[in-house]
């Protein structure tokens, strides 16, 4: 079988009858068999179930039945989305052996459109991390270079798509957990405006920041998945009923840049690639304007205070009573303390403890309310910025993928790797990451496009123009056999 380059091409081949869903699934399973022992992108695999669903779709197609918009396309889900058929662990010992009694809205929606779930993808435990090294199961390696991380926390999802385990994955982004892995693995992603994709069935890290989103090979794949995944869900109280704004022409668009933030980037190829993208956008008739997010310098403490506080209270649900791990003890609180001591990894404990400190009566006004007020200031910065521009661009990350075990000793240094992605999360704005070439070592680089609420379609149109000139789809490990 000659493997389609992206999801859209796979759909065209399926419709033309030159490929079957069974062939696509077998191809993905073959890659998993050959490479995942080393890449470690997956936590659970449903080979038999996937083959069976593929056969059903092939039969339906043969008999001329109407099929869903993703019929026959294999995909993976980050293992913090609950699924009825497969184990859900959030890469934590706390949920070893857990079987959810219901599926996430997005999982149901995608399967109802005929997409075929291959398995669940690795992540940092409960999505707390930026490298996927904090998974309680095993780390994931970057298919572009196996000595490097795929990013995180949606690192298993990103590695799976880059390695050709299906055509897309759905992950989640709290402070950059989709965008940074997309940049590190040469993929496209969208963290939507708050409310565009349903969060129902997404295991929470920090609910005022958590957003689901797809990881794809091409921008047109991302456009299709945005269309399929969006829509109101009565089970998510923040879910929006609004339509997305129509895409605007690039001609005449005001594209903002953040000069001071760029100066923080020491990796020269990233600055050069960013400048090259600006040239491309100018050539399309966009006007480049300098903007400011004056409070971007406090995004990091603001983010970490809010995440710690929300996570600390949210994680209280893992108490050894209703589901998950329980360590046997004679007394209730001893049981909970032992269960949580053994069930949670180091980073999870760190954030729960830090959050509990911030939430103490004597600290809550200073730290938690303080961070929430700072968040308002950051949101106001965005409102002011979007008076001057229609969207703005930054590098997605300040460096390409780093090596495993490189930053593990210093959790605060690890937190810095989300510098460019945090502000849009705090403001709830939509943000796309798309590739902008590779550096001298052949490592992919990503550019981030941030827009005003509900302007996803315009961001995707601009991303398509960047892809046309700077895209690296042909270099993707999935299309090159010689993975990593």
């Amino acid at each position: 079988m000659s493997a389609p380059r992206d999801l859209i091409e796979a759909l065209e081949s399926l419709e033309a009858g030159t490929l079957t869903a069974s062939e696509l699934v077998d191809d993905a399973l073959g890659r998993i068999e050959a490479h995942d022992g080393e890449i470690g992108a997956l936590l659970a695999l449903d080979a038999e179930g996937a083959r069976e669903r593929a056969r059903t779709i092939d039969e339906k197609r043969k008999s001329g039945e109407t099929l869903g918009r993703l019929a026959g396309i294999p995909f993976t889900l980050k293992d913090n989305f609950v699924t009825k058929g497969l184990p859900t662990t959030a890469a934590s010992k706390m949920l070893e052996g857990y079987r959810a009694p219901f599926s996430a809205t997005l999982a149901e929606k995608l399967e109802a459109e005929g997409a075929i779930l291959l398995g669940k993808a690795n992540l940092d435990e409960f999505a707390m991390g930026s490298s996927t090294e904090r998974s309680a199961a095993h780390p994931t390696r970057n298919p572009w270079d196996r000595s490097r991380v795929p990013g995180g926390s949606s690192g298993g999802s990103a590695a799976a798509v880059a390695a050709g385990y299906g055509y897309f994955s759905v992950g989640s982004d709290t402070g950059g957990s989709l965008r940074q892995p997309a940049a590190f693995c040469g993929l496209n992603t969208l963290k939507p405006t708050v409310g565009v994709f349903s969060r129902y069935g997404l295991i929470q890290l920090a609910p005022s920041l958590d957003q689901p989103g797809p990881l794809t090979r091409s921008v047109r794949d991302l456009q299709l998945l945005t269309e399929v995944m969006r829509g109101h869900d009565p089970l998510d109280s923040w879910s929006s009923k609004r339509e997305l704004a129509p895409a605007r022409d690039i001609q005449g668009l005001r594209v903002g840049i953040l000069k001071p933030a760029l100066e923080r980037v020491e990796h020269e190829p990233i600055r050069d690639a960013h400048d090259a993208v600006l040239e491309t956008l100018r050539a399309h008739g966009a006007e480049i304007v300098e903007i400011e997010i004056p409070h971007a310098n406090i995004a990091l403490p603001t983010y970490h205070a809010i995440v710690a506080a929300e996570c600390s209270s949210g994680m209280a649900r893992y108490d050894g009573v209703r589901y998950g791990k329980r360590v046997s003890k004679d007394e209730l609180f001893e049981m909970m303390e032992a269960t949580r001591a053994q069930g949670f990894g180091e980073e999870v404990k760190r954030r729960i403890l830090f959050g509990a400190y911030l939430l103490m009566e004597e600290n809550v006004e200073r730290f938690v309310q303080g961070a929430r007020r700072a968040r308002t200031l950051i949101r106001r910065d965005f409102d002011a910025a979007f008076e001057r521009c229609d969207l703005f661009v930054t590098p997605t990350t300040a460096t390409p993928a780093f090596e495993l075990d490189n930053r593990g000793d210093d959790p605060l240094a690890m937190y810095l790797s989300d510098y460019f992605t945090l502000p849009a999360s705090l403001a709830g704005m939509p943000a796309v990451s798309t590739p902008m070439g590779v550096d001298a070592d052949g490592l992919p680089l990503g550019i981030q496009l941030v827009g005003a609420p509900f302007t996803e379609a315009t961001l995707l149109r601009v991303a398509a123009a960047i892809e046309e000139k700077h895209g690296i789809l042909d270099r993707l490990p999935a299309l090159n056999g010689g993975i990593g």
């Binding site: 009694p101 219901f102 005022s208 970490h304 329980r326 209730l332 609180f333 909970m336 303390e337 403890l353």
Partner: protein, 101 residues
Amino acid sequence: MSSLPITREQILRVAELSRIALTEEEIEQYARELTHFVDMLSVLDTIDKDGVPPTVTLTFDPIAQRDDKLEPSLPRDEALAMGPVTSDGGFAVPKILGGEG
């Protein structure tokens, strides 16, 4: 801009609130790291936030309410299926301090 170091007693109090048993090494490690963390956050003290309301929820539309009508919910046996210990149609827990279980 260095805060007072977090003490052993403070970490133990936080661990109690969090219901996490800590080892001696963890107590030392987290006390040290929490001191750094509070240092990192203290920059938020320096910005002018007077009269700025806190952002708690973040939506661009009014929060949608569902109709107040009865709908099927998770059957009891399914809800209990993942409970580590269940009995008499409920989740079973060890005795609470001073109780008889």
